[in-house]
């Protein structure tokens, strides 16, 4: 059974919306309960009669979403903001890094560096858009770390850019806020928790293998966050914001675990 398109709405928003409806009237609650019972019965009947795949039924999906939320909290508790991810000698860094996106290379966004702006919004003091030259003028560092993909593959690369913590300080971000969200030129979006955003190895990067990011690697701006899985490292970033409202993400709203820590 296909999942409803409502799964495109962030999980927490959906949950809080349904909670409000239930609070609104006791009758609605009864209806919901009855529906749940009906679904449970048909789930059991379906399993007995056909033995077919029933894993998409909403009650099962609700439990799985709940456990995924629990896993977000577990990972936030495990996360040590001072613990550094392993680093490797430069010789271990892969030069021809794997291209990875939800579309083919022909659809890679072509961004003009001269007219590029990084737009800022949310809980920041200065919302002035940043040009590439202004970004390049920030203090830069390099890291050789392992990119771990949710699919199971991993690859060591060298990235260069500004520590994200430095950038957040420059723009006067409210670092007591919960989330930092990103929007990208390809329509991709993602978000991270503030503790991970402030981790010393979280960089806004301009270069891979000592060369300005090629378009396929996210030119001009890619978040490198080795404490998280690859899909939490957005490419082609055009906007970012600081918020207390759960922002979700492209894959996260399709069921990937939101925290996505490694």
């Amino acid at each position: 059974m296909p999942q409803p398109l409502s799964s495109l709405i962030p999980r927490r928003d959906r949950i809080s919306a349904s909670k409000e409806i239930v609070r609104a009237s006791g009758a609605a609650r009864q209806i919901e309960r009855r529906l749940f019972l009906k679904q449970s019965l048909s789930l059991g009947a379906l399993t007995l009669l056909t033995g077919c795949d029933v894993t998409d039924t909403t009650s099962v999906q609700r439990v799985l979403n709940g456990i995924s939320d629990w896993n977000d909290r577990t990972q936030a508790a495990i996360f040590n903001p001072r613990r550094l991810m392993p680093t490797y000698p430069e010789s271990a860094a892969v030069k021809d890094f794997r291209y990875n996106a939800y579309f083919g290379q022909s659809q890679i966004p072509k961004i003009d560096g001269a007219s590029y702006r990084l737009n800022l919004s949310g809980l920041v003091d200065s919302r002035k858009p940043w040009t590439l030259d202004e970004l390049y003028a920030l203090p830069q560092e390099s890291q050789v770390t392992r990119h771990v993909c949710v699919e199971g593959w991993s690859m060591i690369g060298k990235w260069t850019g500004v520590p994200f913590r430095t950038f957040l300080q420059r723009i006067g971000a409210d670092t007591t806020a919960k989330y930092v969200g990103f929007e990208c030129a390809d329509g991709y979006y993602s978000s991270i928790d503030m503790a991970s955003a402030l981790h010393p190895q979280t960089f806004l990067t301009f270069k891979i293998s000592d060369e300005i990011l090629a378009p396929r690697y996210g030119y001009p701006l890619k978040l490198r966050i080795p404490t998280k899985l690859g899909f939490k490292n957005p490419k082609w970033i055009t906007a970012m914001y600081v918020t207390n409202r759960f922002p979700g993400g492209f894959w996260e709203d399709r069921g990937y675990n939101w925290f996505g820590g490694v």
Partner: protein, 228 residues
């Protein structure tokens, strides 16, 4: 009077061969194994380390076609959700079973002693179909297989943690030879457990009288030996 006596005799002639804790954890573990193996196969399919993939119908993670049609992804999201939900069932149930086995003396009574000579003797007997099966008492081949699969289970949990958290648990990942090696060990552990399950289920089919005691806990006294 006669009936009561008969019932009484019937009761004492049935002895407990599998304690309640063992039975409950056994079946919960069976459920956890199905979830972990089938969802794991779909996760494997998203980046196979060997030149083959598992048939999609054998994998778990929601509707494959639905994921492809609506989300443009291979059902990985659902498989990951099942895997990282099943891990709690596996780990908590496994911890209860291990604690019970160690503290109650169940492991000591059921799996030990086991030595190379006995393993060799019983393996040869088994291959000649001359190995008798007493409910509740394990021969040397069974002891070896059960100890082996328990070890594989522990290795699976540890390598699972090593590849889930190669950053926060980096010492554990290092211990298993790094991320990529730990991933291969996680796959081999699965293969070992699946091999065990095939033998385990095949033997239950060949000797069906072993199945009811794992549900009721009881077996006729003349077929059973001791409590395990």
């Amino acid at each position: 009077m006669t009936d009561i006596t008969a019932g009484h005799l019937n009761r004492i002639s049935n002895v407990i061969v599998h304690p309640l804790t063992v039975r409950i954890t056994h079946w919960l573990n069976a459920l956890a194994m199905i979830i972990m193996i089938m969802s794991g196969w779909r996760i494997y399919n998203s980046d196979p380390i060997l030149p083959f993939s598992f048939p999609v119908w054998l994998t778990l993670g929601g509707s494959y076609e639905g994921s492809v049609d609506i989300h443009n992804e291979d059902g990985l999201a659902g498989a990951l959700q099942w895997h990282f939900a099943g891990m709690w069932l596996l780990a908590i149930n496994g911890a209860i079973y291990l604690a019970y086995g160690l503290l109650s003396g169940h492991f000591r009574r059921a799996f030990f002693p086991v030595g190379p000579a006995a393993v060799l003797r019983d393996t040869l007997a088994a291959l000649q179909f001359r190995l008798p099966h007493r409910l509740g008492a394990y021969n040397a081949v069974q002891k070896t297989l059960y100890l082996g699969v328990l070890t594989a289970g522990v290795v699976m949990v540890l390598t699972g943690l090593a590849i889930w958290k190669p950053g926060q648990f980096q010492e554990l990942t290092w211990l298993f030879g790094g991320f990529d090696v730990a991933r291969v060990i996680h796959f081999l552990g699965m293969a070992a457990i699946v091999a065990f399950l095939i033998v385990h289920v095949a033997l239950v089919v060949i000797v069906p009288k072993t199945l009811p005691p794992m549900i009721t806990g009881r077996a006729p006294a003349h077929e059973a030996q001791g409590e395990h």
